[in-house]
């Protein structure tokens, strides 16, 4: 242990000029950023747990409609249909799930960079090697999800549900808005990676950077599964 550490610490001194952080000796052998992203995700769990709990605490407590799953008739006799559109949101959920799959393929593509293609590789094997393709697809699917959300939000507002309408409106828009903001950050992150890939090319040495983005992306995806189940599916 000691000799390994000494070697690594020597390496830190000698190898400081390559501009990368990989060479730093670390206790666990993992990069600092990998540890930090896990801590960050732990913290984010509490953030979404608080948001989701609030939604559930206020579920059914709104004094006026529109309501998520039931019809509401206001004092003037105006009828508000149950506002959640589960088929549409199921589609957007599917899109987000597929983006996670694309993210896995993007990471794999970065890991396989520079390795020769096996002889007689088909289109799929070749496609698998394109990190640009999969980063692009992930970002695109993420953007599509955001498009669904924008459609959902505007149609809710048209139907009479805003942030201010009732407890449901406040908790729903805030919770899903927070999630949407996370997806937006993820899409921007993916697009930055794509841009770097196009300009200087990602290599297997950059695996970690893509890996961290992937962890974040999968986390955001998992949170959506929780939101979709608890808010949309369970009445």
């Amino acid at each position: 242990m000691a000799s390994h550490a000494a070697a690594a610490s020597h390496g830190a001194v000698a190898g400081h000029d390559d501009g990368h952080v990989h060479h730093h000796h670390t206790t666990t052998g993992l990069d600092h950023r990998k540890i930090a992203i896990w801590a960050f995700i732990g913290s984010e769990c509490m953030l979404f747990a608080s948001l989701i709990s609030t939604y559930l605490i206020y579920k059914g407590k709104s004094l006026v409609g529109p309501f998520p799953h039931t019809e509401y008739v206001d004092a003037a006799g105006k009828v508000f249909k149950p506002i959640l559109d589960i088929p549409v949101t199921s589609a957007s959920t599917f899109v987000l799930l597929m983006s996670s799959l694309a993210m896995v393929l993007a990471l794999q593509a970065v890991q396989l960079k520079g390795q020769p293609l096996p002889a007689g590789a088909g289109w799929w094997t070749r496609a698998q090697r394109s990190s640009q393709l999969w980063l692009g697809v992930t970002a695109l699917l993420g953007a599509m999800f955001l498009g669904f959300q924008a459609y959902e939000f505007t149609s809710f507002v048209r139907e009479g549900l805003t942030l201010k309408t009732n407890l449901f409106g406040s908790t729903f828009f805030t919770l899903t808005g927070f999630h949407g903001a996370h997806v937006t950050v993820g899409v921007l992150w993916l697009m930055s990676l794509l841009w770097i890939d196009r300009t200087r090319g990602l290599t297997p040495k950059d695996e970690l950077v893509v890996d961290i983005c992937a962890l974040y992306w999968h986390f955001v995806d998992v949170v959506w599964i929780a939101i979709f189940t608890l808010i949309y599916l369970i009445q």
Binding site: A5, H20, S43, L47, S50, L63, S170
Partner: protein, 638 residues
């Protein structure tokens, strides 16, 4: 994303500028950032103290007119907010910054620039929340900011007015900003402790301060999100008219209380565990003995942190949660007393059979044991809900948590300041002035807070700006006020000592106290790279292994003695450059980014009353934040 930067030519570490304003604005050195935290937090400690003096002056006698009701309410809100978020937490952060890398044998924290960012965000957040008091517009809803008092319906400039007072806006925005600072720092320290320990520094060989800090970082990352959510809701209610706490929309005010205390109770341990860590360094050193029951001390710290998340509703026994919930939270709270009691007994056992030197830090550490015990016992009294119903929201509770936070946290932090001042500055704090400070502080504290037990049990509610004559509280209030004035004298002595000793204190060597842990193996103050050679660690007390092998005769014989050649104190001063050690570049990008963040929140505050101006400022801040972050992430660290 730092790795994505274009590779740069061999970077020679460190800045050549060792002094001057720029060297501080652009520093990424954890020791300098720690020093900034220390000075800033002490300044806020004085401000919070001044607020306390005004509070106590108003309460010295019944029906006093020293300050108005509105001013008083701002004072007690700001006293609590300042002491919790701007003084005690950052004082702990000063020690996290300065000590954690030194104690684990690292050259810096994992993310030096993020560390600078945390400090600047703290500073600006502190200013944002404090400055309004000069304009009589400080937050006035209590440090707990209970809804619905903090909602728009009850924040009008006049009853029924739709124009809102801004007081609580500063609080809501300021606490969110401070949360960013705490979270960023916590991610940083978790990574540092997990990933930057010197070879041989296993988790169970870490110094106790680092261990307690480690627990605290987890509390921070898990406790701050709930209050952030609570604050976001409140801010949206105030700025965008959402309904989270709006009673007219059927909101449940207890939502705020639950979210607040899910944060608020772990926060108590965030405030106390670093102090526990500090005295766990001081007591063995001045008893010439290893810490008694190291493993149990670690486990009890973890246990306290863990249980700390299951007891929040004991702050809410009077809200009517029902007998079952009251019972569960009561029992959970009593459970916490067990690991806490173990710590007390283990500290005493650490001194038992030792050779106790009564230095100033040791006196503060012993005082922590004596005083925290009182706060702990009164804490058990509140854990019983029926008894708590007679105690909560009275001065008895005020007495309780001041014994915990003043008798515990502040005593521990002072122990830490006297203990580590020589390491930070290279000079001792004056022992005579230190003794005067200690005794004045000790007596002043008891005179201030002990009488509050009586006034509380004799029916005096908290947070009242005045009280009528003839209620049986006069004597206790007068004593408490005298005690506060004594604390003013004590603090003045301390400030004088602190400032004076920087240039005139006796010179301290690398290991002035004959302590056992790594930070004492290097010169005082430490060179920018900390360790010329990263040491290899063989036990919990490497310096004792080296210098005083009999002090740490580990009966189990498992510990491998540290390699003496690793721990030779540097005598000649070398620059990092000369030693070829890469150091982070100094950079003001974190400072710039922090300014962006605060400008953003400033814009958000203006948005309600001035949409266009507010939005413009908000976007400017966001642009600064994103631009600063981009420049920061795409430039190499070292």
């Amino acid at each position: 994303m730092a790795t994505l930067a274009t590779p740069t030519p061999a970077a020679v570490a460190g800045s050549d500028a060792k002094s001057g304003l720029w060297s501080w604005l652009a520093t990424t050195d954890h020791k300098r950032i720690g020093t900034l935290y220390l000075w800033t937090a002490l300044a806020f400690f004085l401000i919070g103290g001044l607020e306390a003096v005004m509070i106590r002056t108003q309460l010295a006698r019944p029906n006093m007119g020293f300050v108005s009701a509105e001013t008083y309410n701002q004072l007690f809100t700001m006293h609590g907010t300042t002491m919790v978020f701007l003084a005690v937490m950052p004082l702990s952060a000063a020690f996290f910054n300065f000590l954690i890398p030194l104690q684990i044998g690292a050259r810096d924290v994992a993310f030096p620039r993020l560390n600078a960012f945390s400090y600047w965000v703290y500073l600006f957040g502190g200013i944002l929340i404090t400055l309004p008091i000069l304009f009589q517009a400080a937050p006035d809803g209590g440090w707990f900011g209970y809804a619905p008092l903090s909602t728009p319906a009850y924040s009008g400039v006049a009853p029924g007015s739709s124009e809102l007072k801004m007081n609580m806006d500063f609080w809501v925005a300021g606490l969110q900003v401070l949360g960013v600072s705490s979270l960023a720092a916590a991610f940083n320290f978790i990574t540092t402790i997990i990933n930057m320990r010197a070879p041989g520094m296993t988790l169970m060989r870490m110094p106790m301060f680092t261990w307690m800090s480690f627990v605290v970082q987890f509390l921070l990352i898990l406790a701050f999100p709930p209050i952030t959510v609570a604050l976001v809701f409140l801010m949206m209610d105030r700025v965008f008219g959402t309904t989270f706490y709006q009673v007219a929309a059927g909101a449940d005010p207890l939502l705020w209380q639950h979210l607040f205390w899910v944060f608020g109770h772990p926060e108590v341990y965030i405030l106390i565990l670093p102090a526990f860590g500090l005295v766990s360094e001081v007591l063995p050193t001045f008893s010439k003995k290893p810490l008694f029951g190291y493993n149990v001390m670690v486990y009890s710290g973890i246990m306290i942190g863990f249980l700390g998340f299951g007891v929040w509703a004991h702050h809410m026994f009077s809200v009517g949660m029902g007998a079952v919930a009251d019972s569960i939270f009561s029992l959970m709270t009593m459970l916490i007393a067990i690991p806490t009691g173990v710590k007390i007994f283990n500290w005493i056992a650490t001194m038992w059979s030792g050779e106790i030197r009564f230095t100033v830090p040791m006196k503060f550490a012993i005082a922590l044991i004596a005083m925290f015990t009182i706060g702990g016992i009164s804490g058990v009294m509140h854990s019983s809900p029926p008894a708590d119903l007679q105690q909560t929201d009275t001065y008895f509770v005020v007495a309780h948590f001041h014994y915990v936070l003043f008798g515990g946290s502040i005593m521990g932090i002072f122990a830490g300041i006297y203990f580590y001042y020589p390491k930070i500055t290279g000079r001792f704090l004056d022992e005579r002035l230190g003794n005067a400070h200690f005794w004045l502080n000790f007596i002043g504290m008891n005179l201030t807070f002990f009488p509050m037990h009586f006034s509380g049990l004799l029916g005096m509610p908290r947070r009242i700006y005045t009280y009528d004559a003839g209620q049986g509280w006069d004597l206790f209030n007068l004593l408490a006020t005298y005690g506060t004035y004594l604390l003013v004298v004590a603090t003045a002595v301390f400030v004088w000592n602190f400032v004076r000793s920087r240039t005139r204190g006796a010179v301290a060597g690398g290991d002035p106290w004959h302590a056992a842990t790594l930070e004492w193996s290097i010169p005082s103050p430490p060179p920018e790279y900390n360790f010329a050679k990263i040491p290899t660690i063989g036990s919990r007390y490497p310096l004792w292994d080296l210098k005083e092998p009999t002090w740490n005769a580990d009966p189990s014989g498992h510990a491998v003695p540290s390699d003496p050649s690793d721990l030779q104190e540097e005598t000649a001063s070398h620059t990092a450059k000369a030693l070829g050690i890469p150091m982070p570049y100094p950079t003001a990008k974190p400072l710039f980014t922090a300014i962006g963040l605060v400008v953003m929140f400033g814009g958000l505050l203006l948005f309600r009353d001035h949409h266009a101006v507010g939005l413009a400022i908000l976007l400017t801040g966001a642009a600064m934040l994103i631009g600063g972050l981009y420049a920061w992430l795409t430039s190499p660290l070292e």
